[in-house]
């Protein structure tokens, strides 16, 4: 029976097999593997059974390490068990993988291979993660395509049962995991034929069972460990033949044949490229092209990488082979060569084929494009007189000169439809394109492929969809470079992105435009006009927004543009296409309600009437220029490097342009004028009440306030607005609330929070959203002037008040976080209050992405060049990472203080002042900074090596704070162990938990912070357990300052909590309620939601200060217990002090409980005034 064709991505293809063949699935979110867990959870939630009729148990763990432990346990319990992961997640599973393999346990781990973080994190695909697993004893099976991701998943599950060797089945992250392809599905009989039920029973028979007890997991000594380690050799040895057998059986069942090492190319090839993974597609195309010119070349693709079968390898390699280039998608610094290279060299040595020359190269790290011309360059290198033994391909390495020059141009066959779509993140373009791939894939004989590229911003992000439709199987595993159809779904992109650079001559260009065919030409930038004329493009417009609005879909344009694509691409008849689009709409949205379908149908039906061809004039006449990626006054690095990345030309940067150690300048977001808001807030100074809430609430630091001497206004532009500042302390000053028009994302939070409205028209507030085009010119001028007004002296500002905090310069500005993000207002506030003297340890998550994803960073600097110094280590270790920073700072502080003491004779009175300075206020801090400056001057003339040392640590004489920032996925789950330990240590670090109650960055999976009854991914049926009370856990230590805050509920409390946390000489924990797009709310109202959360008692607000007076008697029982007594013997003094503290613990706990009675359960706005 021929199974139906299906259109799926690699993750779904593999997950379907895994779910069908498992009883227990332990999951944890990590890009790009998360969808495998999400789908499994959803299928089980829906009651979809496995092959044996039971519904797999899907359980989310606290980390990948936890998932691996659960997998190990389930396997020991006799369940067929699987898990999914990638990158750091796989690394966290390694210890258990050794155990699982050492115990000969059938198991499959499916991996969407992803870069392991080194100098930087990257979510994209390479083999650095799986290569770290090759010593575990797992067999490693690699899929190079979506079809293989399905087929080899099944093979892995079949062979693991037959051999008892666990399998790591992997495919390239994003390139394969997220590529949507038409593939042949699997028939149930294929499953039943390959999966031996007796072997399942045998696996179960080995389970731990008190009816036939065994001991497993013993500890062994030098006498026998070694022998026992060798005892399983025959099992590992049997894997290659077993895989080969299953490949044969699979071929008989499906007609699809795989080999351990798959050779494609000239039978008499002399030059062979060896690689594994998705690069195989590009390699095959390149080799085929070269063969047409008579070149004797071929490609050997590795499927079974571990165990590496020398015999099968040699059998697959043409006897005529003279030279080999091995391509590794990973880097092993310091090794003779990368892993696959070394295996090939060793295999040839062992196989007595030493005459073959082997060179090795790296390609495709972090998902770097890998194209046929690159492969051609590799084949060319093999022909060189003296080929480079080690090389890279795909980059320009002007430092170590390892890179191959790639010169060939590549032209895909004319009959392949190559369509590229530029959309806005979340405008539905990607979803519609996935549907289009499905429609073509299922309604025609054409093969179909969809690949989707996102930029790294979460607001105003650009998505680029690459769709191929071909009469032949598609192996092109790289982006389209010459499209015969280009659609731009957002008119505004034309000035920012070179949308038509990708268009081939004679291509069709579809533009979503509010301007009709007669008006649109004049609105196009010059460069766009030029390309339309030069490339002889067929140019169409459709007013998607109007059609969608008319149909009742708001501004959702995706189905309109999709319909137009089908009308213009002629892949299928328009009638069939419309029917198919409607069918896909019904499939996708059917459950949401009839009206959703009807409105989408209406949009589809109205689309073609709105589609218009634009007559193209013969000459370019536009004076509109495309924007520069960064402003002309940006610093050199930003111009040279950042600007290229912003312009989408990062691939062209040579090695020398990049820092060697991952260190980048801060304060760069301000150079990236993203200009994404259709409406911006405009201030009406006549009704402003000077409260500062708009600025505090602004997630993007795009609303600023400044108080200044009215004399500054002398040079102000006419449009600049100003009003008298109502303040007793600062009489005679003026105030301005200013929008940064090109940085604003248009979220509307400022308007929602503004409490001042007009007496005449209630809806008119002191700040109102208005069309940007009406204001952008004057507001840009005003903002520039605003920036030129001197910042207020920090010493003159009441830092711990709402308005006061907003008079401080934000050192976190213009992040690419989601429009209306609930996290960033806290981060920005932190930067305002302490940004000039803090280091930040940032857990991986949203905050590390909007904080540190290239091209730019919102972390900024003041005029003196001071600002937060920021780093991200991992997801799981952030508390420890920050603690380490603290220890280093304290060490250097101690050294500095000691040296000041020692050098006091040289330094004089200043030494005492430096050591005894009160740094509890901004004024005190400024004075200490001045003293350090004086110290440096004094030290210049001190001829003593200690003076030089003091110079290197003098900065540390000024108080420095460590802020540990992360989300709830980190604090409640994966990083909780470390956070718990750091809190227990009580050192002076400040922890800010941006609690979105969900894993926001990976797409909204449940965490232990997710409240009961909420749905989230991995909790598709609604979360059945309650939210963990992290604050209570922290308070149980007794010495941790804990505050649970919510900016929308009580801004004053937030500011106070930040100030108190920073002042607390010990560990502080602030749990900050952070609405997220995962909450399913209108983000413009996120502050109002916070108020509701607090007022309903859902999110109680409190500040717990452990320095409140301690009362009580010593704990006498401690002396009676060995665990305390041991210390009393060993170190009596220290033990005594600890016992004293232990008593304080008890007393404080009493106090805590008393205080808990007074937890604020309401948001008290009346108390928010600055006078409190």
């Amino acid at each position: 029976m021929e199974p139906a064709y299906i259109v799926v991505d690699g993750n779904e293809a593999a997950a379907r097999v895994a779910h069908t063949l498992s009883e227990v699935i332990a999951i944890y979110p990590i890009t790009p593997a998360s969808p495998m867990g999400e789908l499994s959870d959803a299928w089980s939630q829906r009651g979809e059974p496995n092959l044996w009729g039971t519904v797999p148990e899907v359980v989310e763990m606290q980390s990948e390490a936890g998932a691996a432990g659960a997998v190990h346990g389930a396997l020991q319990g006799g369940a067929l068990t699987t898990t999914f992961t990638a990158s750091q997640g796989l690394l966290l599973k390694l210890p258990n993988m050794y155990k699982i393999a050492g115990e000969l346990t059938p198991c499959v781990i499916h991996v969407a291979a992803r870069t392991v973080a080194t100098h930087a994190l990257s979510i994209f695909g390479d083999h650095s993660d799986v290569m770290a697993a090759r010593q575990t004893g797992f067999a490693m099976l690699c899929s190079a395509s979506v079809q293989e991701a399905q087929d080899l998943a099944l093979v892995a599950h079949a062979v693991t049962l037959r051999t008892r060797i666990p399998f790591l089945h992997f495919f390239d992250g994003f390139r394969t995991s997220h590529e949507v392809m038409k593939i042949a599905g699997l028939a149930e009989e294929t499953y039943t034929s390959l999966i031996d039920t007796d072997l399942v029973a045998a696996h179960r028979g080995r389970a731990l069972n008190p009816n036939r007890p065994v001991l497993r997991g013993s500890a062994q000594n030098p006498d026998v460990f070694f022998q026992a380690r060798e005892a399983a050799n025959l099992y590992h040895d049997a894997v290659p033949d077993a895989v080969s057998t299953v490949f044969d059986e699979f071929a008989a069942l499906t007609g699809r044949r795989y080999e351990l090492f798959e050779y494609v190319g000239a039978p008499d090839a002399e030059r062979v490229v060896i690689l594994m993974g998705s690069g195989a597609g590009a390699a095959h195309e390149a080799a085929a092209a070269l063969q047409t010119h008579g070149e004797k070349v071929g490609v050997l693709v590795v499927h079974l990488y571990r165990p590496f079968s020398v015999r099968h390898f040699l059998e697959a390699l043409p006897a005529s082979t003279k030279s080999i280039a091995v391509l590794d998608r990973t880097k092993e610094p310091g090794a003779v060569g990368e892993p696959l290279y070394q295996d090939v060299v060793t295999a040839l040595q062992e196989g007595n084929r030493k005459e073959i020359d082997v060179i090795g190269g790296r390609y495709g790290l972090s998902g770097k494009e890998f194209t046929p011309p690159m492969v051609m360059a590799v084949f060319a290198e093999l022909m060189a007189a003296e080929p480079r033994r080690h090389f890279t391909v795909g980059i320009t390495d002007d430092v170590s000169h390892l890179s191959l020059a790639v010169e060939e141009k590549w032209q895909e066959p004319e009959d392949v439809v190559q369509a590229v779509f530029y959309g806005l993140g979340a405008d539905g373009t990607v979803g519609a394109n996935k549907n289009s791939v499905k429609i073509v894939g299922t309604h025609t004989d054409l093969e179909a492929q969809g690949h989707f590229v996102y930029d790294s911003k979460k607001s105003g992000a650009v998505t680029v969809s690459h769709l191929r439709f071909s009469p032949r199987p598609i192996e092109s595993t790289y982006l389209i470079s010459r499209a015969n159809f280009v659609a731009c779904h957002q008119f505004g992109f034309l000035e920012k992105i070179d949308v038509l650079g990708i268009a081939d001559e004679g291509a069709t260009f579809l533009l979503n435009s509010a301007f009709g065919p007669d008006d649109v030409w004049d609105k196009l930038p010059r460069q766009v006009q030029e390309q339309i004329i030069a490339k002889k493009l067929k140019f169409y417009v459709v007013d998607g927004a109007s059609v969608a609005k008319e149909a009742g879909l708001g501004g959702r344009i995706n189905t309109v543009l999709q319909t137009c694509f089908f009308a213009l691409a002629h892949l299928i008849s328009t009638e069939v296409a419309i029917g198919a689009i409607k069918k896909s709409i019904a499939d996708a949205y059917g459950k949401r309600g009839e009206v959703v379908l009807q409105r989408n149908y209406a949009a589809v039906d109205a689309s073609l009437e709105a589609l218009r061809e634009v007559p193209v004039p013969s000459a370019v006449d536009s004076e509109i220029e495309m924007r520069l990626p960064v402003a002309a006054q940006a610093p050199d690095f930003v111009q040279r490097v950042t600007g290229m990345i912003i312009a989408g030309k990062g691939d062209l940067l040579p090695v020398s342009a990049l820092p060697v150690d991952g260190t980048f300048p801060t304060a760069t977001a301000k150079w990236e004028k993203r200009d994404i808001a259709p409406e911006i807030p405009i201030w009406d100074e006549s009704i402003c009440i000077d409260c500062g809430r708009c600025a505090l609430a602004c997630p993007h630091a795009a609303i600023r306030i400044k108080v200044y001497d009215p004399a500054e206004l002398a040079t102000a532009p006419d449009s600049f607005k100003s009003k008298a500042w109502k303040s007793k302390e600062h009489a005679g000053k003026n105030l301005t609330v200013q929008v940064a028009p090109l940085d604003c994302t248009g979220c509307g939070v400022c308007v929602d929070i503004c409490p001042a409205h007009s007496k005449e028209i209630v809806k008119h507030k002191s700040i109102n959203m208005e069309p940007k085009l009406d204001h952008v010119a004057t507001e840009t001028e005003s903002f520039d002037f605003f920036l030129s007004i001197p910042e207020m002296d920090r010493s003159d500002v009441r830092v711990d008040s709402i308005a006061g905090s907003q008079l401080l310069e934000p050192l976190f500005e213009f992040s690419g976080a989601c429009s209306g993000c609930g996290e960033t207002p806290y981060v920005k506030l932190l930067s305002q209050m302490f940004g000039d003297r803090i280091v930040v340890a940032n857990a991986t998550g949203c905050s590390s992405i909007y904080g540190g994803n290239l091209p730019t960073t919102p972390w900024a600097q003041n005029a003196a060049g001071q600002g937060p110094a920021w780093s991200n280590s991992l997801f799981e270790d952030n508390a420890e990472f920050g603690l380490g920073m603290r220890l280093a700072i304290e060490g250097q502080q101690k050294m500095a203080r000691r040296l000041v003491t020692e050098l006091a004779p040289h330094i004089g009175e200043l030494a005492t002042e430096l050591l005894e300075a009160d740094q509890g206020s901004e004024e005190g801090l400024q004075k200490q900074r001045d003293r350090v400056q004086s110290l440096r001057t004094v030290l210049e003339s001190v001829d003593d090596p200690r003076a030089r040392r003091l110079e290197s640590v003098a900065d540390y004489l000024v108080r420095m704070g460590v802020w540990i920032i992360g989300g709830d996925g980190w604090a409640y789950d994966i990083g909780f162990g470390g956070l718990d330990h750091v809190m227990a240590l009580g050192r002076n670090v400040n922890v800010l938990v941006l609690d979105t109650e969900v894993y926001s960055n990976t797409g909204g999976q449940a965490s232990k912070s997710t409240p009961r009854a909420a749905v989230a991914k991995f909790a598709a049926g609604g979360k059945a357990t309650g939210k963990k009370d992290l604050g209570m856990i922290a308070q149980s230590y007794g010495n941790v300052y804990v505050a649970q805050v919510s900016m929308g509920a009580n801004m004053n409390q937030v500011v106070k909590a930040f100030a108190e946390a920073e002042a607390h000489d010990g560990t502080s924990l602030i749990i900050a309620y952070s609405p997220c797009i995962a909450h399913g709310i209108d983000m413009s109202t996120m502050m109002s939601h916070q108020k509701d959360a607090a007022q309903s008692g859902y999110w109680p607000l409190y500040r717990y200060d452990p320095t409140a007076e301690a009362v009580g008697k010593p704990a006498e029982f401690a002396a009676k217990e060995g665990r305390f007594a041991m210390l009393a013997r060993a170190n009596p003094q220290y033990a005594a002090s600890l016992v004293e503290q232990a008593q304080a613990d008890i007393d404080n706990r009493w106090q805590l409980y008393e205080q808990m009675v007074h937890v604020q359960r309401t948001a008290v706005f009346e108390e928010e005034g600055d006078d409190e």
Partner: protein, 333 residues
């Protein structure tokens, strides 16, 4: 005492019908009303606007954030098996009520689109409703549309629903027509089997603290009865249709007044919310007692006995009533 009444062709034991309100939302509550003596039940309205809003809100929530980044390509909320948008929940309750109750169950519908009215009317009929009440809630706020156009909207709507269902059809309207009497006749011509007078629209209020417009639901009082009373009297016997009186029906006296004026049934909501289902029992007793004390044979005997046509002073229902009230008011000062 024989209190038998006939409404929309449905033979009822008495003239008290709990109208569309929270009291008729759950089957349990409806059963309590039946036990207390309700002659029929009008379920709360199925609001097409609400259904559409919910479906579009689900749609928006699932789309929101989807494809926002490479890491959340699939959107933030998981796809569920069923969002229970649409009329399913309403129809389930209707079916359950039909199964649990012996008295007739009248469904109520508030549509927004012509297609919506007929679509939902049909599925309500299929679900087994004994009759359908069209709860027409049009605020004629558009400056460009005149009264004739607005009235045509009403009539077309009634006609289209009439053409798509065969169960009895009641039309519940407000009192704000230039010619209520004429409109009543045209609604009946368009296919209404009964008129429910009058819809009591939720009216907005202003919160002076927050300076916001808030919906304000105030329960009715007996004082509001008289508008209905007039129109019962004016229409009884003059328009060939069932007449249901609603708004301000709180006591046995209220029911008696309305029946004397010509109501076939009287509908209660606010009074039941205030006093519970048992109010029906005591009201029925009060009605019987009044009739018995005056030797009526049945309620039907009294029905319409003080209608416009039957009243010794028909003009009292027209102009004089107003003048007299004015005089009295002035003299009291």
């Amino acid at each position: 005492m024989n209190l038998a009444s006939n409404y929309l062709g449905l033979g009822l034991a008495n003239p008290i019908v709990p109208s569309s309100s929270p009291m008729t939302r759950s089957v349990e509550s409806m059963q309590r009303l039946e036990a207390a003596g309700a002659a029929a039940i009008v379920m709360p309205s199925l609001f097409e606007e609400q259904i559409e809003h919910e479906a579009m809100a689900v749609h928006a929530a699932l789309n929101f954030g989807a494809e926002i980044s490479a890491e959340s390509a699939g959107g933030y909320l998981p796809e569920m098996d069923d969002y229970n948008t649409g009329a399913a929940d309403y129809l389930d309750r209707l079916r359950a009520a039909k199964a649990a109750l012996k008295i007739p169950v009248i469904a109520s519908l508030n549509g927004t689109s012509p297609g919506g009215w007929t679509l939902y009317a049909r599925i309500i009929e299929e679900a087994g409703a004994d009759a359908l009440e069209l709860n027409i809630y049009l605020i004629a706020a558009e400056l460009g549309r005149n009264s004739a156009q607005v009235e045509d909207d009403y009539l077309q709507l009634v006609q289209s629903v009439r053409n798509s269902v065969s169960i009895p059809l009641a039309v519940k309207v407000g009192p704000f027509f230039s010619s209520t009497a004429n409109m009543a006749r045209r609604l009946v011509s368009a296919g209404a089997d009964g008129l429910v007078l009058f819809n009591r629209f939720y009216q907005p209020d202003i919160d002076l603290d927050t300076l916001s417009v808030v919906p304000n639901i105030v329960l009715s009082t007996s004082d509001e009865l008289r508008l209905v009373l007039r129109w019962m009297a004016l229409l009884h016997g003059r328009v060939d249709t069932s007449l249901a009186a609603t708004t301000g029906v709180h006591t046995a006296e209220d029911v008696l007044k309305l029946v004397l004026a010509g109501a076939d049934v009287t509908m209660m909501a606010s009074a039941l919310i205030k006093h519970g289902p048992e109010l029906i029992t005591s009201t029925l007793a009060g009605i019987s007692a009044w009739l018995e004390a005056r030797d009526y044979e049945s309620l039907d005997q009294a029905r319409g006995s003080l209608s416009h046509d039957a009243s010794p002073d028909p003009s009292a229902f027209e102009r004089a009533n107003y003048m007299q009230a004015l005089v009295e008011y002035a003299s009291e000062r």
